[in-house]
């Protein structure tokens, strides 16, 4: 099939979906495409889910500027689109005299980044805020506005809302080539057909160098920086209520101990520079490293309560730094690269900035009437009181059928996840939307049922149901 559109966005991670949602306010035809079976990208969905004030980025850079402007946008967005966010604050404990020497420069950096509420607290004050933190601390930096967000819902909610406002999402749609003629992209070749677009925005993250190469606008490379994580069970006895950070290194924020919005403890990541963009393997060395560092921050953590481990690949640009290019050489091409671990937080600012830059280069922005500002999430059975649960079941009896016993996710929630805009088509996509299979048994009990439900609702055979994209079939064909 062939498509004509005003704007094509390549890559449906945090940046791509934020741009899509922002553009959907205007009278434009927009297509958002992604090589994966679902929105969520690679880096965005496997990250530390921090929505922070980014006080540690290099001041006076584009990244710093966008970080400052981006953060306040979350207050409205999360409310309008029902995205879970928890303004839990963060603590960076100082564990030895050597680390103490870094504190003045970290505070200076924070101030230069416009983050004035980062404060040094004494040992006693830190212990009062976070009783499980390493008691050997000599005090620490407290950043009260740092938040935790559902990185899945951030992307899914914006994509759903963009679709409600007319954006078309093409999944399993990999860009295979670009036909550039006379300084203009004539055609974008994809596995779903040719796309003709007046504007092409490359926010393909880890793969943005490959797309940029097709356009002939690539003076950089991107390699994956691997981050390994543990997730601990919700009922692990030692938890934290703030994000606990280690003193950052030049390549990484260091290890974090994170209270997720869903009530788990997330521990990680590593920062390992790789070449292979598909290497999502956890390693014993990496996980041991994370566990060791995490225990230095919170010594009582029960690492044996881990329910899963995973890898995220952040795109590491060389040369480093955020880069948003509205090309002069190739008309209509916009390249977004160098969006590193701050990307989730900065994504909203990136969207606003990019669109403004495009407007300066000639994109006509006319507001559309009837923009749908709000998006309602799937009503979560397990959050409700008995009376509310009874009402839900009365309206939809499938709310009375628990499929995922660990997280108490009902059949109704799963069916809704499949039939919403940008609906789930795979087992992992269901999991990211409603958390079926995210609990202690990791889908041991519910995956046979989830396979049956997906097959029934999509009218395919169970043998065609995949875990995620590609040939990740759950069963033997």
């Amino acid at each position: 099939m062939n498509y004509n559109t005003d704007v094509l966005i390549i890559g449906a991670g945090a940046v791509g979906t934020a741009i899509a949602r922002e553009l959907s306010k205007f009278q434009l035809d927009v297509i958002l495409c992604d090589k994966n079976d679902d929105v969520g990208g690679d880096a965005s969905k496997s990250c530390s889910s921090c929505c922070s004030t980014e006080s540690t980025v290099t001041p006076f850079t584009l990244e710093s500027k966008l970080a400052q402007s981006s953060r306040p946008l979350f207050y409205h967005l999360c409310e309008e689109l029902e995205i879970p966010i928890n303004f839990c604050g963060s603590i960076t404990p100082v564990l030895n005299e050597e680390q103490m020497k870094v504190i003045p420069s970290m505070q200076e950096k924070a101030f230069n980044n416009g983050v004035y509420d980062v404060e040094f607290l004494t040992h006693d004050e830190i212990m009062e805020l976070e009783p499980n933190i390493n008691p050997c601390n000599l005090g620490g930096l407290y950043s009260p506005r740092d938040a935790q967000i559902s990185q899945f819902m951030l992307v899914i909610a914006q994509a759903e809302n963009a679709v409600a406002n007319g954006v078309e999402v093409l999944l399993d749609c990999r860009v295979t080539g670009m036909e550039v003629k006379d300084g203009k992209i004539e055609t974008v070749n994809t596995t779903k057909g040719d796309i003709h677009a007046k504007w092409v925005i490359n926010c393909a993250g880890l793969y943005c160098d490959e797309i940029a190469k097709m356009v002939g606008e690539c003076d950089f490379t991107v390699h994956p920086r691997k981050g390994q994580f543990f997730i601990l069970s919700k009922d692990t006895p030692v938890k934290v209520s703030h994000t606990i950070m280690s003193i950052p290194t030049p390549t990484s924020r260091g290890t974090l101990v994170i209270p997720t919005v869903d009530g788990n403890i997330l521990v990680g990541p590593t920062a390992e520079d790789l070449q292979d963009k598909t290497d999502k393997k956890t390693t014993k060395e990496g996980l041991d490293f994370v566990a060791r560092n995490a225990l230095a921050l919170v010594p009582g953590l029960h690492m044996e309560d881990t329910i899963t481990q995973f890898v995220g690949l952040r795109p590491a640009r060389e040369p480093e730094g955020y880069n948003i290019l509205v090309s002069e050489k190739v008309k209509g091409y916009v390249g977004i690269s160098g969006i590193r671990s701050s990307g989730l937080t900065v994504s909203l600012g990136i969207a606003k900035y990019t669109i403004h830059e495009m407007q300066k280069a000639g994109l006509e922005l006319k507001r559309k009437n009837g923009f749908i500002k709000r998006r309602e999430g799937i009503v979560k059975f397990s959050d409700k009181s008995d009376e509310e649960k009874a009402k839900l079941i009365e309206k939809d009896p499938l709310y009375g059928k628990i499929i995922c016993r660990c997280e108490q996710i009902t059949e109704s929630e799963i069916v809704q996840a499949i039939h919403r805009p940008v609906g789930a088509r795979t087992v992992d996509a269901v999991k990211r939307r409603v958390r079926a299979g995210m609990g202690r048994c990791q889908g041991g009990f519910c995956s046979p049922l989830v396979i049956e439900i997906i097959a029934r609702e999509l009218n395919i055979s169970p043998e065609e149901v995949r875990k995620r994209g590609g040939v990740s079939y759950m069963l033997d064909k």
């Binding site: 956890t282 009375g400 990791q442 759950m474």
Partner: protein
């Protein structure tokens, strides 16, 4: 909200719940309810289509569904209320909150029996490194997919762990035309029953690799290979001797964990070793109105044991509901040298009945001696030509002995020849 009142409520219609229900009824409980999330009774037995059940209890060999059916019939005849397709959500203020497609049900009970069974340990619990493709299943999930839904899970299989379900699945997959390339076990000895090794692995020429483990999994979409390596005496893999086995499926049979999340909502204290409730010989937990039996109490290897133990739990729950449970001094029971755990962990020294102690040895061995003592006095002693942690052992104290108990009871095991 529907309010329901009963003498005894039982959570789970697997072998434990079915046995508890019929015996509660037999003991005189007027209204007995079973809450079961599945649409059929039988629990995991439904998917255990192999034979080997009932040799102890019925004196004949049955399949899982046959074994369950015999109990289900008794339960129905006894007039137990079976609430199928209904999930117990939590225990709150002595009310069991349940849900089904008709709404929310509050069950008010005189006594409750926990019979939820267990779940399987996962790859994540073991922290097996590698990628996370499709094709990694716990053995029980694969068994459910094959035997209940009629699906195939893969063609080229590696199984990690020599638990009973893993070995039974090795045979089952072979029957269905899959190629089971190896069963890999971290320990230097078998985790499951020896009879399963003979009948499920040896008879089909499936190699068992003891003292080996999986050190890597490859495959982006679906499993492409696993790497196994032998381990040294500290269980550290010897990477120089690692071996890549191409396969499309990895099954895990690496242990079971009692599914006690609901028990936690009721405030029932659990044992750190069994991961089940701490109970006395009446299977009564530290919350007096709550009893526990079957795999939610401690993981059993034979369903026959579960049936016996659960009948006791059902009976005592009925007595409790009627205010007739015996009372007495509470004596603690502890594992001594060579024993991993003992269940029950407490004995009420009333002496109305004999008390059977179930336990597992810490290591396998030959010419073993097992004994129960209290106050330095040996109360019971038994010799066995062979014991292993995979086989549950039992020793019974007579009611006269129970009545005389004054200080803690210790169970010990020793072997003339250690096998580990």
């Amino acid at each position: 909200m529907k309010e329901v009142y009963c003498d005894v409520v039982i959570i789970g219609a697997g072998p434990a719940g079915l046995a508890a229900a019929q015996s509660a009824k037999k003991e005189g409980a007027e209204k007995v309810i079973i809450v079961e999330r599945d649409v059929h009774a039988g629990g995991i037995l439904q998917q255990c289509i192999h034979a080997g059940f009932g040799l102890k209890y019925f004196g004949e060999e049955l399949t899982g569904p046959e074994y369950a059916e015999r109990f289900e019939e008794k339960v129905m005849e006894a007039g137990v209320d079976m609430m199928l397709d209904t999930t117990a959500l939590e225990v709150r203020d002595n009310i069991l909150v349940c849900t089904n497609t008709e709404g929310i049900i509050h069950i008010h009970y005189g006594a409750m029996v926990l019979a939820m069974g267990c779940r399987e340990r996962t790859r994540a619990n073991l922290v097996i490194p590698g990628s996370r493709p499709a094709g990694i299943y716990t053995a029980g999930t694969a068994q459910r997919l094959m035997n209940i839904y009629g699906h195939h899970v893969g063609k080229e299989i590696v199984i990690l762990g020599s638990g009973d379900i893993g070995m039974i699945m090795a045979r089952r997959l072979t029957f269905e035309g899959a190629h089971v390339k190896a069963v890999v076990e971290l320990m230097p000895f078998l985790a499951g029953l020896v009879r399963n090794k003979v009948q499920c692995l040896d008879d089909f020429g499936i190699p068992l690799k003891l003292s080996h483990t999986v050190v890597d999994i490859t495959g982006v979409d679906r499993v492409e290979s696993v790497t196994i390596a032998p381990v040294d005496e500290n269980k550290n893999p010897i990477m120089e001797k690692a071996e890549v086995i191409p396969c499309d499926t990895l099954l895990l049979s690496v242990g079971l964990i009692p599914e006690n999340e609901l028990s936690k909502t009721a405030g029932v204290p659990l044992s750190g070793i069994t991961k089940g409730a701490i109970v006395n010989q009446f299977k009564q937990t530290e919350v007096p109105s709550i009893f526990a039996c079957g795999n939610v109490l401690h993981v059993n290897d034979l369903v026959d044991h579960v049936s016996h133990e659960s009948e006791a739990a059902g009976r005592y729950a009925a007595l409790y509901a009627a205010g007739k449970l015996p009372e007495g001094d509470v004596i603690s029971v502890e594992p001594g040298e060579g024993v991993r755990y003992v269940c029950p962990q407490k004995i009420v020294a009333d002496g109305s009945e004999d008390v059977t102690l179930y336990f597992r040895t810490a290591l396998p061995g030959r010419n073993s001696t097992m004994e129960v003592s209290s106050d330095g006095q040996v109360l019971k002693k038994r010799k066995s030509i062979c014991t292993s942690p995979g086989t549950m052992e039992e020793l019974t104290l007579t009611k006269e002995q129970v009545r005389e108990l004054k200080s803690k009871v210790i169970v010990k095991a020793s072997h003339e020849e250690e096998l580990a």
